[in-house]
């Protein structure tokens, strides 16, 4: 019963579409889980629920023993910025801040002093091979570079879980490969769990487990849980 993340019977709908219809999923500490499925099958919605960005209408999201869906927006955000890293398809960096400032942001928001935060951010940029663009703003970065900065930002607080939604979806094969290798190496090293949504078979192949969604339900990949 020591799952890091425990999703039980998630339901989530938007206006007319039912995006999730009773999805259950567990992630163990240090496990890399790939979520695949057709477009519109609910992958992003599932990931957003897991990261505490969206709240499901029914079902529970338990992260490290905390029931995420019962916390209010601020509390969830504070938990997320310490324990859960989030990487989306287009990086979504703050355009006015440099790469280093972007990567340091979760630490700054958490009250770490500027110098310590910068040192930590630079160390991550270094590991991900983007140290030389540390003082450039996102507009001056390539897609692959900003994606690696986003990965640095997700990892800088030493989270226990990283949620990534098609982190390489907007990149060409080579750049995607670089980002993916860096991300996987980083999470394996730190024994961080990774939940990654992807269309890319090669990503799924390098994961510990692949979960396939179809029409808002798990089609395969989640071992039957004895409840």
């Amino acid at each position: 019963m020591n799952h890091l993340l425990e999703l039980r019977g998630l339901h989530k709908s938007f206006a007319r579409t039912e995006a999730l219809r009773g999805v259950s999923l567990d992630v163990q500490p240090g496990e890399v889980v790939a979520v695949t499925g057709a477009s519109g099958s609910g992958k992003s919605t599932l990931l957003h629920c897991a990261a505490g960005v969206l709240v499901p209408e029914a079902g529970s999201v338990t992260f490290a023993g905390q029931r995420l869906h019962e916390l209010d927006e601020s509390a969830r955000t504070r938990l997320r910025r310490r324990e859960i890293g989030l990487v989306l398809q287009f990086g979504q960096l703050v355009p006015e801040l440099t790469a280093a400032q972007n990567a340091a942001l979760p630490l700054l928001l958490d009250g770490t002093d500027r110098r310590t935060a910068r040192t930590a951010a630079l160390a991550w940029l270094e590991r991900l091979g983007v140290a030389e663009v540390a003082d450039q703003v996102p507009a001056e970065l390539s897609g692959g570079e900003s994606q690696r900065v986003a990965v640095a930002r997700a990892l800088v607080t030493g989270p226990r879980l990283v949620c990534a939604d098609e982190p390489t979806g907007a990149l060409d094969t080579v750049a995607g490969e670089v980002v993916l290798t860096a991300l996987l190496a980083a999470v394996r090293d730190a024994h961080t769990s990774l939940l990654v949504v992807t269309h890319d078979n090669r990503v799924a192949a390098r994961a510990d487990r692949e979960v396939v969604l179809r029409d808002g339900s798990v089609a395969s990949g989640q071992p039957a849980v004895a409840s």
């Binding site: 960005v53 969206l54 989306l88 355009p95």
Partner: protein, 471 residues
């Protein structure tokens, strides 16, 4: 502290123009408020009551080498009140400039939420982003006050010898500075106003880490609040004020009435725009007019607010026309010209109105730029489907015209009804009055044309096909 630092960070790029515009608006507000405070502190004695041997009292007035607006104890409160009203000019512009760069700002705030900023922190950043430049503007208001004092400065108690001439009537700003604590209070109040405006600006916006959703604004603007304000304003300025206009409390009532009227016009902007849009949307067959009226039906608030400033200008101009007519009637019946004591304030009113119209034009430009950026996707798809640019440009012009013209006509006519009684005796004065109202409407139309002409480059940018792919 982080919110403060991040707010500061936003001035590096897109936020700079917005910050400068906010500081400029608040600097002017502060300068005007400091003049108003020094008018309150102006206590020179303009005369004494003397008891005559027969027991009656007469007022012996002293001369003063300053404008009558400042010198005359009875007029001074009205002058103070007028200064506060003039603050509305930069304030309406402020309301629009805080919208500058909304799309980019919302993207930044969403990115901050993604990085782990809580909703409260994001709101604080939004408040500081306006509050800090407003505070800076408050400090810059000190030199603005100095400039006003240099141009219109008046010594406190010079006794007067000579004519009431134009130069004297322009000595409007007391030479004495407000006390340091008054200055501090004004500067802090302006900064606080900025913080409030900044916090309110993002009130309806829900910034989630995944992006921004505007609060659903499906409910159309309602008319009862402006209606109530207008009715109360007319009541106080008419049936209450007129029979008792010599009493102090009636004058206070008049000021309250005018305030309510102005607030009524300001708040009725969105409602009038919405009604105008509704009235036309089902009837017109012109594509430009159809687009414009549909925009107003969907969201009349932004355009209505920008147009409401024009409505207030029309209201004040309409009242000024009535005053002018009254002055002319008197001047023609007693054979003298209009005295400088009256003509200079009238000229100042028209000067302020012209400046206000220019400022309101810029407010409309800001509105145009922001709403074009907001609608760039639908505009680009319209253009891609073959709707000519001229039609879109006409739609942009119709949107502001539908919002601004009805309210202006109503305000001009409404303000004229009050003064109409004096006009019937004198056809010449009636003509002057009508000419002033018509000229006001003409200038407003010019302002609308100018504002749409000025946003043309942004329209071109909005229809760029690359906008089809942006979210």
């Amino acid at each position: 502290m982080t919110a403060l630092a991040l707010a500061l960070g936003s001035y590096r790029t897109g936020g700079r123009a917005r910050a400068l515009a906010i500081a400029a608006c608040t600097a002017v507000v502060t300068g005007l408020l400091l003049v108003a405070v020094s008018v309150v502190g102006y206590t020179a004695v303009d005369g004494v009551e003397q008891t005559m041997p027969d027991g009656s009292t007469v007022f012996i007035g002293y001369g003063g080498d300053v404008a009558n607006l400042l010198w005359d104890r009875g007029v001074r409160p009205g002058y103070f009140f007028a200064l506060l009203l003039i603050c509305l000019v930069p304030l309406t512009l402020l309301q629009q400039v805080v919208r500058l760069g909304t799309a980019a700002r919302e993207r930044r705030l969403a990115a901050l939420r993604l990085a782990g900023a809580t909703p409260g922190e994001v709101r604080a950043i939004g408040a500081w982003e306006v509050g800090l430049p407003a505070l800076a503007g408050g400090v810059l208001g000190l030199p603005v006050h100095l400039v006003l004092r240099t141009l219109f400065g008046a010594d406190a108690t010079l006794s007067w010898v000579g004519d009431r001439d134009v130069a004297r009537e322009l000595r409007l700003v007391p030479a004495a500075y407000p006390a340091w604590w008054q200055v501090l209070l004004v500067v802090l109040a302006v900064g606080l106003l900025g913080v409030l405006v900044g916090a309110l600006a993002s009130r309806k916006v829900v910034v989630s880490p995944l992006g921004v959703s505007r609060g659903a604004r499906r409910t159309p603007p309602r008319g009862w609040l402006p209606g109530l304000l207008l009715a109360a304003g007319i009541f106080l300025a008419g049936p209450v004020y007129l029979p008792f206009f010599e009493r102090g409390w009636a004058q206070l009532g008049l000021m309250l009435g005018i305030t309510l009227l102005v607030l009524g016009v300001l708040t009725s902007g969105p409602w009038v725009a919405y009604r105008a849009g509704r009235a036309l949307a089902g009837r017109t067959s012109s594509p430009a007019l159809l687009l414009a009226s549909r925009w107003l039906v969907m969201d009349a608030r932004a355009a209505g607010r920008a147009a409401a400033a024009i409505g207030v200008i029309a209201l004040v101009s309409g009242a000024a026309a009535s005053l002018m007519a009254d002055l002319l009637v008197n001047a023609r019946s007693n054979g003298h010209g209009v005295e400088a004591m009256y003509s200079v304030p009238m000229a100042l009113v028209y000067a302020v109105l012209l400046v206000a119209l220019v400022v309101a034009t810029f407010a409309l430009v800001v509105h145009g730029v922001e709403s074009l950026t907001d609608r760039r996707r639908s505009l680009a798809s319209l253009a891609a489907e073959g709707v000519p640019l001229e039609v879109l440009e006409r739609a942009v012009r119709w949107e502001v015209a539908l919002a601004a013209v009805p309210i202006s006509v109503l305000a001009l006519v409404g303000a004229g009804a009050v003064g109409a009684v004096t006009l019937f005796g004198d056809p010449v004065v009636l003509l002057v009055d009508l000419a002033l109202r018509a000229a006001t409407l003409g200038l407003i139309w010019l302002a609308l044309l100018a504002s749409t002409r000025l946003v043309r480059p942004w329209l071109r940018r909005a229809v760029d096909p690359t906008n089809l792919r942006t979210t």
